[in-house]
């Protein structure tokens, strides 16, 4: 005799109503995205950042002028239909230069942040999880690094390494990771007390596996927020170095370098300073607003 599943009925169970009351289950990311979407300011910032990034990718080829071709017949032209942002003292098209500079600025921001966050997360994770004497000495090292004013150290390092993109990134990241490391360490100190870590330990997971697979994924929220503050910080620092003549070298350029060189002509051609400064300010503004929004979205407990 064949008995199918349909022959069995659980008495007193009304399946339909239970199904209807259930909400769709959301992953951490979906949940955070849902909350972020409600934040208009954060979404606007995200939109501006996407536009800025797209313009940095496409911009230099949009105007039809090469960013390093000089033109002695068109020196210091004000913004016009022909040159949307005007031209600089060597007759180079500023629209192309602003977006070409943006490429460098953003690239330094992104690569530098990637290094800072990776090193900082690893360092903080190891220090926090192992604890004890290792933690003590690792924190001492950070204390020493932090007590050197960062700009001073960056200047010295870039003097030593010479100028160029790579040395710039090394100089900026050599001391940039300490705040991340401290933050991750604090977070790990809290998380490592929880039961799932004990469970992993008793199942025989190695220290490296616990740090990489159990602890760090749980700090993802603050890592993401930290990223949104590190990127503009690095772009800012690069701008200062460029101002002091320690930034990227000609013919390449960055927003900081453009703003710095425009200072010489501020009396007569203020627009040359306006555009690169506007881009720096927009990037900074958008990243910090997005960071605030992300913090609320990723961890509603922290909402101020």
């Amino acid at each position: 005799m064949q008995i199918s599943k349909a022959d069995f009925i659980i008495e007193g169970l009304i399946t339909q109503t239970i199904d209807h009351k259930m909400r769709p289950s959301l992953t951490y990311g979906q949940d955070a995205w849902r909350r972020l979407k409600l934040n208009k300011i954060a979404m606007l910032s995200l939109f501006i950042l996407i536009i800025l990034t797209l313009m940095c990718i496409l911009g230099p080829s949009l105007s039809g002028y090469d960013f390093k071709t000089t033109n002695t017949l068109q020196l210091n032209f004000p913004p016009s239909l022909q040159h949307w942002f005007g031209t600089d003292p060597l007759g180079r098209d500023l629209f192309s230069r602003v977006w070409q500079g943006g490429r460098i600025s953003l690239l330094i921001g992104f690569i530098g942040t990637f290094i800072c966050i990776t090193v900082g997360t690893m360092y903080g994770g190891i220090s926090g999880y192992i604890g004890g004497r290792a933690d003590h000495y690792m924190m001492r090292v950070i204390e020493v690094l932090v007590s050197i004013p960062s700009l001073v150290m960056v200047i010295l390092l870039s003097l030593y390494l010479g100028s160029g993109m790579l040395s710039l990134i090394i100089a900026l990241t050599a001391f940039g990771w300490t705040s991340t490391a401290r933050m991750i360490r604090g977070q790990v100190l809290q998380i490592k007390q929880q039961e799932f870590v004990l469970a992993a330990v008793s199942l025989g997971a190695s220290t490296a596996r616990i740090i990489l697979k159990h602890l760090i994924p749980n700090t993802l929220g603050i890592i993401i927020v930290d990223i949104t503050f590190t990127i503009p910080g690095l772009i800012f620092a690069e701008a200062f170095l460029s101002f002091m003549g320690l930034g990227v070298q000609i013919p390449n350029t960055s927003w900081g370098a453009l703003a710095a060189s425009a200072r010489d002509n501020i009396m007569f051609y203020p627009y040359q300073l306006f555009f690169p400064s506007l881009m720096i300010a927009l990037t900074m503004l958008s990243f910090s607003l997005l960071g605030d929004g992300l913090r609320d979205a990723l961890d509603p407990k922290l909402r101020s």
Partner: protein, 314 residues
């Protein structure tokens, strides 16, 4: 308490020692030295004597010990660019202009920032709050050299109200005029930081149970705001004040260069451009000592103002 202080003091000096060592070797690894251009046309023997005079002929490690020995006696050495000029004198000359500008900026920035922060916290979610927060974010979004240049363009080029750059060491109306723009440029960032900090701090205190208690027992208005809310909200602000007080003497590299103020920061920047080892080193040591010392003081003051933090019993 004294045991904690001693331990703290010891680690402070240890940190300073490590920092000086790192900076010493880092500076000496920078290619190019300031004597090279001067000694280029000298005969070999004179050149060797020249280098020996400044102790640059010995191995680096010997130079390090000599430098440390002199430093312990309070001797920073001589400038390698302005020969015969002791670093100590150069630094002492550069400190007063930096102090004038930075004290102005700090007073103006901290009071305005704290005021705006309190205003924003009390008007939370209304337009004053949004306005203050907008200023705060703007303050950290615009590089100070852009702001300084914009100020020069507006007040000097367009309006012709203030001198573009320059400085006079005599206190008075002229000095005040020179100091207005650098003060504004420097205080903008301070206002931004403090208003954000104070807003968060006041909001935090307003949510505490003791405020509810105070309200319940009938304290209100000015008394509640001053005695209960503000006094407690000032505590976190002390943390960021420490390094900034060290900054009064150190000055600002960028602002001083732009406004042509012969202060600590400008001297430092020119020392870097000239590769003047001893001067870079001397000034870096001072910056670090001040910074580390200010952190130490903040720690102590923190424990004194807030009995909840018992650092002394650790």
């Amino acid at each position: 308490m004294s045991k904690y202080m001693l331990k703290r003091l010891f680690s402070m000096f240890l940190t300073l020692f490590v920092v000086i060592t790192i900076v010493f070797f880092l500076i000496r690894m920078v290619p190019g030295d300031p004597l090279a251009s001067m000694a280029r046309n000298l005969p070999e023997q004179v050149k060797a004597n020249f280098y020996a005079e400044y102790g640059l002929d010995k191995p680096l490690i010997t130079q390090y010990f000599i430098y440390m020995k002199h430093l312990l006696h309070g001797d920073f050495g001589e400038s390698l660019v302005y020969l015969g000029q002791p670093i100590k004198e150069i630094i002492l000359r550069a400190i007063p202009p930096s102090m004038v500008i930075n004290i102005h900026a700090l007073l103006w920035g901290v009071t305005t920032g704290i005021g705006l922060g309190i205003l924003a916290a009390y008007k939370r979610g209304k337009w004053p709050d949004h306005l203050v927060m907008f200023i705060a974010i703007l303050g950290v979004s615009i590089p100070s050299f852009v702001l300084a240049t914009a100020l020069q363009y507006l007040f000097s080029v367009q309006l012709n109200w203030l001198p573009t750059i320059g400085w006079t060491s005599e206190p008075g109306m002229k000095q005040f005029k020179y100091s207005i723009m650098p003060t504004i440029a420097l205080s903008f960032g301070i206002i931004a930081v403090y208003s954000r900090y104070m807003r968060a701090s006041v909001l935090d205190v307003l949510n505490q149970d003791y405020i509810l208690t105070a309200k319940a027992k009938g304290v209100s208005g000015f008394s509640l705001a001053y005695k209960h809310v503000l006094r407690n909200s000032f505590i976190p602000a002390i943390t960021i004040l420490g390094p900034q007080i060290a900054g009064i003497i150190v000055g600002s590299f960028v602002i001083e260069s732009i406004f042509g103020i012969p202060g600590f920061g400008q001297v430092y920047v020119s020392a870097i451009t000239n590769r003047d080892f001893t001067q870079i080193l001397g000034q870096t040591v001072i910056i670090n000592a001040l910074y580390i010392f200010s952190l130490f003081v903040v720690d102590i003051v923190y424990g004194l103002v807030d009995p909840r933090i018992r650092v002394f019993n650790k």
